[in-house]
C-alpha cells in the first residue's frame, strides 16, 4: 500500500476538490435542480470534510462527500417540485432539416425534459449521472452507497418511465 494521504493536508484537500467537486455539483443539481443551492451544498460538504479531516480517511473521502451532500440536501427540507432546465448542447447552427421537423424535435426535447424532472429523485440522479456524467453503475453505487444491482434497477425504471411519458411521438 502506498503512503497514507491525510485529508488534512491542503494539497490532498485540493486534489480531492478538483477530482470530485464537479460531479458532486452535478449530483446535487440532479437532485435539486437549483444551481445556486448545488454550489452551496458542494461548499458545505467540503468544509465539513475539512473540519472533520482527521476522521475522514483518504480512500473514503469520496463517499463521505456524497453522503454528506445527500444528507445536507435532505436537511434542506423545503425543496420545490423539481423542474430541471437542462442546457442543450451541440445545437446545430445550420441544418437541412425542415422547420416542421425542428418543431417536432423541440417539442420532444421539452417533453423529455419535463419527464426527467418528474422522475423520482433516486432514479433521476442515477439516470443523469450515467447518461451525462458517464459514470459507470459501479461508480454511482459507490457515490450513493447502494448496490450496483439497485443502480441498475433504478436505471431501468427511469428509462422505462421516460418512454411511457414521451414514447408515442
Amino acid at each position: 500500500m502506498s503512503e497514507k494521504k491525510s485529508v488534512c493536508e491542503s494539497s490532498v484537500f485540493e486534489e480531492l476538490y478538483s477530482e470530485h467537486s464537479k460531479s458532486l455539483y452535478n449530483f446535487a443539481f440532479y437532485k435539486s435542480g437549483n444551481s445556486a443551492q448545488s454550489e452551496d451544498l458542494v461548499q458545505e460538504a467540503f468544509i465539513k470534510m475539512w473540519n472533520n479531516c482527521a476522521k475522514v480517511i483518504f480512500e473514503k473521502a469520496k463517499s463521505f462527500l456524497f453522503t454528506v451532500t445527500n444528507n445536507l440536501f435532505l436537511n434542506q427540507v423545503a425543496h420545490k417540485k423539481v423542474v430541471l432546465n437542462y442546457n442543450l448542447i451541440g445545437g446545430k447552427e445550420s441544418t437541412n432539416e425542415s422547420p416542421e421537423f425542428l418543431m417536432e424535435e423541440k417539442e420532444f426535447m421539452d417533453l423529455l425534459q419535463n419527464a426527467i424532472g418528474d422522475l423520482k429523485e433516486g432514479q433521476r440522479e442515477v439516470f443523469l449521472l450515467n447518461r451525462i456524467d458517464k459514470k459507470t453503475y459501479k461508480e454511482i453505487a459507490e457515490m450513493l452507497s447502494i448496490s450496483v444491482k439497485a443502480v441498475e434497477k433504478r436505471m431501468h425504471l427511469a428509462l422505462k418511465q421516460l418512454r411511457e411519458k414521451v414514447g408515442n411521438i
Binding site: 454550489e39 420532444f108 451525462i132 428509462l159 422505462k160 418512454r163 414521451v166
Partner: protein, 302 residues
C-alpha cells in the same frame, strides 16, 4: 419475445452493452427499441449548468482559512503542551501553593475566590488560601484584618483567624480581626462563630464582637452592607484604641495618643477620604484636640 426486456435491469444492461447478442437482436425488433434509442440519443444533448469550480473553492478556502492557521501548529505540540500542563498541575496539586492577597494603607481590594464567592478586603488586610483545597470542595481561608464576604451556596465556607473561626454555608458577612479585636457581622443567612471559649450563631442583623480578654458581646445593626464599602469606617461602642488603629490603617499615619484615655467608647463613623474631616468626627465629640504634621498626628485633651 416481447416480454424479454421486462426483467428489472434489462434496460440497464442494454445501455451498458451487457446484453447477449440474441437479446439485443430480439430487442431491436421491438417498437419500444426505437423509442428508447430516441430518448437516449436526445439525452446526449443535455448537460448540467456550468459549475464555478474556482469560485466555490475560493469560498471554501476563505471559510476554512482560520482553521488552517491553527493547524500549522503540529499536533505533537498540543500533546506536548498538554502533558506539560498536566505535569505542572499535578505538581501544583500535590504541593498546593498558597494564594495570598493583601491590601496596604487606605486600599481596598475585591477578590473572586475559586468557587465564585466574593471577598472585599478593607485596608491593611490579607486573605490566604490554598487553591488545591478549594478544588477539593474545602472552602477555607485565613483572614487578617477586615473582609466582607459574599459566599456562594455550597459546602461549608470557613474563615480562620487567630481569634476564632467563622463558618457559613452561603451568606454575606463581615469579619474584622486584629490581634486583640474580633468582630463578625452577619448581613444575610446564618453564620457560626467559634473561638476557643464559645460558639455563637448569628442571623441577619446580628453581630459578634470580642475585644481582648473581655467577654464577647452580641449586638444588632441595621445596615445592608458594611460602611467601609462606601468609604466610611463605623464603630459601635468601640474603645477609642481600635478606632485610632483603624484610622492609622486607612490613612497610613502614626497617631500619638499617649495623653488621652484610650478606653473611652466611641460610636460613629469616619470618612476614609479626608483625614482632617475624619479626625474631626472622632475628636470633636470626645473633646480631643489634634494637630497634623505630615503623617504624624498628635492628640491631646482640650
Amino acid at each position: 419475445m416481447k416480454n424479454e426486456h421486462t426483467d428489472d435491469t434489462f434496460l440497464s444492461r442494454w445501455l451498458n452493452n451487457d446484453l447477449t447478442s440474441e437479446e439485443l437482436v430480439s430487442f431491436k425488433k421491438t417498437t419500444e427499441y426505437k423509442e428508447y434509442q430516441k430518448i437516449i440519443d436526445a439525452t446526449q444533448n443535455f448537460k448540467a449548468p456550468n459549475f464555478n469550480e474556482k469560485e466555490v473553492f475560493e469560498k471554501i478556502h476563505q471559510k476554512t482559512n482560520d482553521k488552517k492557521v491553527k493547524k500549522l501548529i503540529p499536533n505533537w505540540m498540543f500533546a506536548a503542551a498538554a502533558s506539560i500542563a498536566l505535569l505542572l498541575s499535578t505538581v501544583y496539586y500535590l504541593t498546593g501553593t498558597n494564594e495570598t492577597y493583601s491590601t496596604s494603607f487606605g486600599e481596598q481590594l475585591a477578590l473572586v475566590l475559586p468557587d465564585g464567592s466574593e471577598v472585599l478586603l478593607n485596608s491593611k488586610s490579607s486573605v490566604t488560601y490554598k487553591k488545591s483545597d478549594w478544588f477539593n470542595g474545602n472552602r477555607t481561608l485565613e483572614l487578617n484584618g477586615e473582609g466582607y464576604f459574599k459566599v456562594k451556596k455550597g459546602s461549608t465556607f470557613s474563615v480562620l483567624s487567630e481569634n476564632g473561626k467563622v463558618r457559613v454555608l452561603g451568606t454575606q458577612f463581615n469579619v474584622k480581626t486584629n490581634p486583640s479585636y474580633f468582630e463578625v457581622l452577619c448581613y444575610e443567612g446564618k453564620v457560626q462563630v467559634e473561638n476557643k471559649e464559645e460558639l455563637a450563631i448569628l442571623t441577619k442583623g446580628l453581630s459578634f464582637r470580642k475585644i481582648e480578654n473581655k467577654s464577647s458581646e452580641k449586638g444588632t445593626f441595621i445596615n445592608e452592607k458594611p460602611n467601609w464599602l462606601d468609604g466610611e469606617t463605623s464603630f459601635n461602642n468601640a474603645p477609642l484604641k481600635y478606632v485610632l488603629e483603624e484610622l492609622e490603617k486607612q490613612y497610613n499615619i502614626k497617631i500619638n495618643s499617649s495623653n488621652i484615655d484610650l478606653n473611652i467608647l466611641y460610636t460613629g463613623a469616619f470618612t476614609n477620604i479626608n483625614l482632617n474631616l475624619a479626625l474631626q468626627t472622632i475628636c470633636a465629640p470626645l473633646s480631643i484636640q489634634f494637630t497634623v504634621d505630615s503623617n504624624k498626628v498628635v492628640l491631646s485633651k482640650k
